[in-house]
């Protein structure tokens, strides 16, 4: 046993030493040469600096901070803009982070989440020549240099709700959120409205657990996966066979419960979970997409030429929100074509994708 460890250590040390033996790159010229050549088609450096401040969830929250950050990184890769980011770990970090980015000469500063609303407004008013954008938040009165980014996720959730209602074997669906805040409940509301619409159209009686149009099941945070597992298990015990958790990583706990149950499905949110949570790909019915990354990217791209404070609203129409592919064999072709009709009706305003309307 000891020997194995020793050999292992030697092998590891050897590997490190060998790795360190790599040949040095040619002196400086490479950079200068490739700068102009077309072989690698390097992205042209542009004189634009896009910066981002997270809320206290950090850029690795498997939720909107992360999606927004991916958009920022894509802008660096594809547009060649210079980027900088600052993670906030507490409420008191927002202001200083924004100040530091203003001082660092950022042209566009994107803040993520309603928690940064006040701090962004203060920074925008103090620095009228710097442009801002804020994800998932809007001001009552438009601000000259803040572009709000909204997402009508209920439109996509409506489609998911309709499809789920058509696919359920037990006639029961479930949904729960992390915390009862508008950006979470909008998913649940659209989902419920979609299921209700299915009932109206087809004379069915599918029930949705966990949301009644005003209140419902919430796990209390966006961290504790065990709570997600318990809540989902509760729904499964009550006969639900499709569950939509709207709680970031907490939803992975729900995925565990669903996978263990065997005959149930899960609806992912924000990103396509067959990609972002491949372990559970076999139980993903579909995902309600909220393309924050795309909208951040688009905002940066647009701001490079001309900045506007016009709100960006992600809808089905501009693919700011959407539904991922359905799991094979769950949704009939008939329903798929109905969904297309519904999507069109939502786009032109004939269907209001919420229970309130």
């Amino acid at each position: 046993m000891k020997n194995t460890i020793r050999f292992g250590a030697i092998a590891a040390a050897g590997a490190l030493a060998l790795a360190a033996c790599g040949t040095a790159p040619e002196e400086e010229p490479t950079a200068a040469e490739t700068g102009g050549t077309e072989s690698e088609a390097p992205v042209e450096e542009v004189d634009f600096k896009a910066c981002m401040v997270s809320d206290q969830g950090g850029f690795d929250d498997a939720s909107f901070n992360q999606s927004a950050y991916e958009g920022l990184q894509r802008a660096a890769d594809e547009l060649g803009v210079e980027i900088a980011q600052a993670e906030s770990t507490a409420e008191s970090d927002y202001g200083p982070n924004l100040d530091a980015q203003v001082a660092a000469g950022c042209d566009l500063i994107i803040t993520v989440g309603f928690l940064l609303g006040d701090a962004t407004l203060a920074a925008a008013q103090a620095n009228p020549d710097v442009n801002f954008a804020i994800v998932d938040f809007g001001y009552e009165e438009p601000v000259e240099n803040i572009k709000p980014l909204f997402y009508e996720t209920d439109e996509a959730a409506f489609l998911a709700g309709y499809a789920a209602a058509s696919a359920t074997q037990t006639g029961t669906l479930g949904t729960f959120g992390g915390i009862n805040i508008p950006t979470v409940s909008i998913f649940m509301d659209g989902f419920l409205a979609g299921a209700n619409y299915y009932n109206e159209q087809n004379g069915a009686d599918v029930t949705v657990l966990g949301w009644d149009g005003a209140d419902g099941s919430f796990t209390g945070d966006f961290e504790n996966q065990a709570n997600g597992q318990n809540t989902a298990q509760g729904f499964l015990d009550q006969g639900a066979d499709i569950v939509m958790p709207v709680a970031g990583p907490v939803g992975l706990g729900a995925a565990q419960a669903v996978q263990a149950a065997g005959d149930a499905w899960l609806i992912g949110v924000d990103s396509d979970w067959t990609q972002s949570a491949p372990d559970y790909a076999d139980v993903i019915f579909t995902s309600v997409l909220k393309n924050i990354g795309n909208s951040v990217f688009d905002t940066i791209e647009a701001s490079m030429t001309e900045y506007t404070n016009e709100p960006y609203v992600g809808t089905l129409e501009n693919s700011g929100v959407g539904v991922a592919d359905f799991a094979e064999g769950t949704v009939s072709d008939e329903v798929v074509s109905e969904l297309e009709t519904i999507a069109a009706a939502i786009m032109n305003g004939e269907i209001e994708p919420s229970t309130a309307g």
């Binding site: 040095a24 790159p25 970090d93 530091a100 309603f114 928690l115």
Partner: protein, 466 residues
């Protein structure tokens, strides 16, 4: 009579429970039979020089045997207290070395997290110079960003711009001073209070509510709001103090649980319309009235607010309380040896409750620095990790007011350098937390630091060894 017997029986049970592993230790460990017991009493007597009066009149708790002692909740305390005492007594030199060691290890992380260094190290043997220059660049960028973020912005063109980072450091230090002072009192009284986080949140909640819901005239509003913060924290501190004094419930467990209760309570309150902004369902309170905000002491260009001066005043107040007042003497006596303190006629229960109430009130004032000073709103993120950072601050400051203020300024500086570290040097903010955590680690293990830097052991440990 039967009342008397019951606790005695318990006491015997406990002391024999304690004795058994000791005998085992004697049997197996030939080098230092029952070493920890002797260390206990040795540290106790060495530390409580300022409580000699108590010491002289009181029997040694371990030496006199559990059977003659009245059993109580703090029967198991001395062991835990000796660890605490060990930490509190580490010399200034050890503390400074711990900080340096943490910065150095943090530097290593910075170096290895740096992309340029990793690229250059791939061909280390063919051109080692590249690796070293990349390392130097990474370290230089990181430390200069930290300096510029926390002390002096050398790039700034105006004097105000230059000193702004330091004022930011002081602003960030303010809640840590408050909460650290409160925890320090607890540590010196032998209470390991982990509950600053919850006390801070409840204080902040009450203060913020007074701030945005009541509309009082200028001056009075601020005072009432600040008192609200202190009251909220004091209530949340009273609970574990009372439970400890009356039932012996261990304060560590109770305060940790109360942190969760506080956080969930605030989460729930923030779902109510009373605590939300009009026309919004987001869990964030309205901004507190201007009349309830701490005035900015250096003008609107700086975030430094009156709370900082209040924190310094509290530091002086705590110094006076602990060093000059009878009450403080009782607190220290209880911390040094609760049995002795009781024998000397002090009420240990009263001390525990008062210590927790004062600590809670100070933690609540830390909340005021957030909701009435820098943030002006209450959210679930108001407390951040302040309550836990304050534990480190109190330990680093060896629970003395001056030390706590210095440690808070150090931590405030680390926090204040976060933004520049991220934006200027492109480093993850986690480096700051790693450095903070390393400081805790080194502070908690003084012998480690002493052996790393070959520092001599403090006097009382030599006694034990001899």
């Amino acid at each position: 009579m039967s009342d008397q017997q019951k606790p005695r029986g318990k006491g015997k049970g406990k002391s024999s429970g304690k004795g058994a592993p000791q005998r085992e230790a004697e049997a197996t460990d030939t080098e230092s039979p029952s070493g920890d017991v002797r260390e206990d009493s040795a540290t106790a007597s060495a530390s409580s020089t300022d409580a000699t009066a108590v010491e002289a009149t009181a029997p040694e708790p371990e030496g006199s045997g559990g059977s003659t002692e009245p059993a109580s909740s703090d029967e198991q305390a001395p062991r835990a207290q000796s660890v605490l005492r060990e930490i509190l007594e580490s010399s200034t030199l050890v503390v400074i070395m711990a900080i340096l060691a943490s910065l150095a290890i943090g530097g290593l992380l910075i170096v290895f997290a740096d992309e340029a260094v990793r690229e250059a190290s791939a061909y280390f043997f063919s051109r080692p110079g590249d690796t070293f220059s990349a390392m130097a660049d990474a370290l230089g960028a990181a430390y200069s960003a930290m300096f510029q973020g926390a002390v002096l912005n050398v790039d700034a063109t105006t004097f105000a711009g230059m000193i702004k980072p330091f004022t930011q450091t002081l602003t960030m230090a303010t809640p840590l001073i408050f909460a650290g002072l409160g925890l320090g009192i607890g540590f010196r009284a032998g209470l390991f209070n982990i509950g600053a986080q919850g006390q801070l949140l409840i204080g902040a909640t009450l203060g913020a509510y007074v701030g945005f819901a009541w509309h009082l005239p200028w001056g009075i509003h601020l005072i009432v709001a600040v008192l609200g913060c202190a009251l909220g924290g004091a209530i949340w501190g009273f609970i574990p103090g009372f439970l400890k004094a009356r039932t012996g419930a261990h304060e560590v467990i109770v305060t940790i649980m109360l942190n969760y209760i506080a956080l969930n309570l605030v989460s729930w309150l923030l779902t109510l319309d009373t605590f939300q902004r009009e026309g919004s369902d987001n869990p964030i309170t309205p901004v507190v009235d201007e009349t309830a905000q701490y005035p900015l002491i250096l003008g609107s260009g700086f975030n430094l607010h009156l709370g900082f001066l209040l924190a310094l005043a509290c530091a002086w107040g705590v110094w006076w309380l602990m060093e000059r007042s009878t009450l403080g003497f009782e607190f220290r006596a209880v911390g040094a040896n609760p049995h002795a303190a009781r024998t000397a006629g002090m009420s240990v229960s009263k001390a525990y409750i008062l210590v927790m109430v004062i600590a809670g009130a100070l933690a609540g004032l830390a909340g005021s620095a957030q909701v009435l000073g820098t943030e002006k709103v209450l959210t679930t993120a108001t407390a951040g990790s302040l309550g836990f950072d304050a534990i480190t601050v109190a330990l680093l400051g060896r629970s003395r007011p001056l030390g706590t203020v210095m440690a808070a300024i150090l931590f405030g500086g680390l926090r204040a350098s976060g933004p520049t570290l991220q934006v200027q040097a492109g480093l993850p903010v986690d480096i700051i937390f790693v450095i903070q955590a390393l400081i805790v680690l080194f502070i908690a293990a003084p012998p480690l630091v002493r052996s790393m830097f070959r520092l001599p052991a403090p006097a009382h440990e030599k006694e034990v060894a001899a």
